[in-house]
């Protein structure tokens, strides 16, 4: 146990102010994100992720948003196991025919405001898989989408940015 404690102390805090992503303005987004979540979502934004047929690269990047560098949880954002607990749905993949029904049901099970962020080129337009017999259509053709984050796969910083735009958009509309 001593070894482990020593390791944790040696490692220190790795969380970055997301400025290392070289995209100007993201640090401000971090602060702003926290403020909006505190005000509008009772300090915690619950996100449910549905993979609607992705190649799993988008899942790798969504998982990376919770690593110590990006540390998404510090803004009050966490991933939940049930759509019934979720404020926001992240959807990846080109929406295969075999997943369209499950995606629709997950969306229906969510309470309002039902924010939806489509992650990746596939979710945007089918990506390299469009025009396949096995693809139902992009996410927007199945459920209403608030924000799309393009990329194959989009980086963790872009995903965080997408989440921020979605809650802000919703904020300005109401």
């Amino acid at each position: 146990m001593w070894q482990f404690t020593k390791k944790i102390l040696q490692t220190g805090i790795k969380s970055e102010s997301i400025s290392l992503t070289k995209e100007p303005g993201i640090e401000r987004i971090g602060q702003e994100l926290k403020r909006v979540i505190a005000k509008r979502f009772g300090k915690s934004l619950a996100i449910r992720v549905v993979d609607a047929g992705s190649c799993n690269a988008c899942e790798l990047e969504i998982n990376a948003t919770t690593n110590p560098f990006y540390n998404l949880k510090r803004f009050g954002i966490h991933f939940v196991a049930s759509p019934r607990h979720a404020d926001m749905l992240l959807v990846t993949g080109p929406v295969t025919r075999n997943m369209a029904d499950a995606l629709k049901k997950t969306y229906d099970a969510m309470p309002d405001p039902k924010l939806v962020v489509a992650i990746g080129d596939c979710a945007l337009c089918g990506g390299v898989f469009k025009n396949s017999y096995a693809i139902q259509g992009n996410v927007n053709s199945i459920i209403p989408v608030d924000v799309v984050v393009p990329g194959c796969p989009p980086t963790p910083a872009q995903i965080i940015q997408g989440i921020f735009i979605a809650i802000n958009k919703n904020h300005s509309e109401t």
Binding site: F4, A57, L60, N98, M99
Partner: protein
């Protein structure tokens, strides 16, 4: 089995290299049985408009058994008695081509959930109707047995698939998997594509093994075109492949310790993973090295400063992994969760025809990187690392070992690269296959790609993910474990849903 056929088969089994044997489809089952009793594993099977191919790995020989399909009433013979994975492969083949398997016990659909017509890939046999949407699971009866259905949408950030547990109290009596949710019809999308466009598609069969797929596809295309690629590029491709192995093993160890209730230890592993992933962005322009390997294209050598930095980072990571191993080994709570959980015995692994690192964790010395293989592995003389217990702890330990092995391999590759020539040497033909083949040991196991080209266009292309075989192993590894340990066991395998569905 006819005598000449057996004689030929015996010859093939004794000499390393690629061999093709054409037989009547009726005796495929006999051959499968013969090969199974002689320790072969089935790598993949697939059909083309005219032929049925089954690819086996027997010791150092790669044996392809080819059968002509009957022009009007094509049918396969059932191999699932010897190689259980073919049950799923045959059902998938029926879903996409409507070509049935004779005497098959299990005729339920696999990839087709009733949302697209059966036989979409077969213009002659395409039916207007799709299959039934309801799917009969195998029932377990008895006092106190109940079912837990899980999925397709899972609780974590993972891919979709359905698990049907039959349990008594906490213990799992039986797990039945049902997949196909991420079926994207990639086999059809690949038809008539040019080689480069095909590479983009095949790199996205399973995102976590993108380098392995691109590499296997490049080898297959170059084999089909008889195109030679310079040794330096071959070395650089292998460096990328080993980096992918390292990243995924570290990422999986992070997930395993997290599922065992240690998020702070998960953070330690994630730091290492993110460090490597960011380096990938610098080195290849993509965090997961997507589209870095293209068929018939050379990869330029990194300059010496970059190589020094890369090796320095790897050394640092190696040191950290040693520390983390110490912490894991001395944490009794963690070891208590990992040891004896999700055990897969060597006998079961053999019986199921398990491949890749899952097989090695159960004690089978199966690694496509060892022995008579493609350059540069042929020059590296790699021996397969194994563990004996086959439980979650064994798979965790093997990952540690393979991380160190990968770092060591990358060091040796950079030592070799100085002498490696940049001129394209003539292609050494070792194959008598009527198509191009590429097999690469991804972090998960062998990824196979077979391709037939016509004027630089893909006539047909088949790819196979090791997850096909190893998903079967998961069904057996969970028996007798408690339901609460399922996520941990599942993570220790970390198989690809997309890879098996595509």
């Amino acid at each position: 089995m006819q005598r000449e056929c057996l004689k030929l088969l015996k010859n093939h089994m004794q000499s390393p290299g690629h061999h093709c044997l054409e037989v009547d489809s009726q005796i495929q089952a006999d051959i499968a049985h013969y090969l199974k009793t002689h320790g072969a594993v089935l790598l993949t099977e697939w059909i083309t408009p005219k032929d049925w191919y089954v690819l086996y790995l027997q010791n150092k020989a790669l044996i392809c058994i080819q059968s002509k399909l009957h022009p009007t009433r094509p049918a396969l013979t059932d191999l699932s008695h010897d190689f259980p994975v073919t049950n799923r492969l045959q059902r998938a083949i029926y879903d996409l081509t409507k070509i049935p398997t004779q005497h098959a016990q299990d005729k339920r659909p696999w990839l087709n959930h009733g949302y697209f017509p059966t036989g979409v890939l077969n213009a002659h046999a395409r039916s207007q109707r799709s299959c039934q949407q309801s799917y009969p699971f195998n029932k377990v009866a008895g006092d106190g047995v109940h079912e837990i259905p899980v999925g397709p949408v899972h609780a974590g950030v993972i891919e979709p698939g359905h698990f049907r547990f039959s349990v008594v109290g906490e213990r799992i009596l039986k797990l039945e998997e049902r997949f196909g949710y991420t079926h994207k019809g990639i086999h059809q999308l690949l038809l008539n594509q040019d080689i480069q466009q095909g590479a983009k598609l095949i790199s996205r069969v399973s995102g976590d093994s993108t380098v392995a797929y691109a590499y296997a596809y490049a080898l297959a295309c170059e084999d089909a075109l008889n195109h030679s690629i310079n040794p330096q590029t071959q070395i650089m491709r292998t460096v990328l492949l080993e980096r992918e192995r390292l990243i995924n093993h570290i990422g999986d160890m992070a997930a395993i310790v997290n599922d065992a209730g240690m998020p702070s230890l998960q953070s330690q592993f994630s730091i290492l993973k993110e460090t490597l992933v960011r380096d990938n962005q610098q080195l290849t322009g993509h965090r997961y090295m997507m589209d870095a390997i293209m068929p018939c294209q050379n990869i330029p050598l990194w300059n010496s400063d970059t190589i020094t930095t890369v090796l320095w980072t790897l050394n640092k990571i190696q040191k950290q992994l040693h520390e983390l191993k110490q912490i894991c080994d001395h944490h009794h709570g963690l070891q208590d969760r990992l040891k004896t959980t999700g055990g897969l015995s060597i006998e079961t692994a053999k019986q199921l025809g398990v491949i890749g690192f899952t097989a090695r964790a159960s004690g089978l010395k199966l690694d496509m990187r060892q022995g008579n293989t493609h350059y540069p592995y042929s020059a590296l003389n790699i021996t397969a690392l194994t563990e004996s217990n086959g439980d979650v702890a064994a798979r965790m330990n093997l990952r540690f070992k393979e991380c160190h092995q990968s770092i060591d391999v990358i060091h040796r590759l950079f030592d070799m690269v100085d002498q490696a020539s940049t001129t394209n040497e003539p292609h050494a033909t070792t194959t008598d296959f009527p198509f191009g083949v590429g097999i690469v040991e991804s972090w998960r196991g062998p990824v196979c790609v077979a391709v037939a080209l016509e004027h630089d266009q893909i006539q047909w292309c088949h790819f196979h993910d090791p997850s096909w075989q190893n998903w079967l192993a998961l069904e057996y590894a969970v028996i007798g474990n408690i339901v609460a340990d399922f996520p941990l066991i599942n993570k220790s395998f970390n198989l690809s849903y997309s890879g098996q569905d595509s």
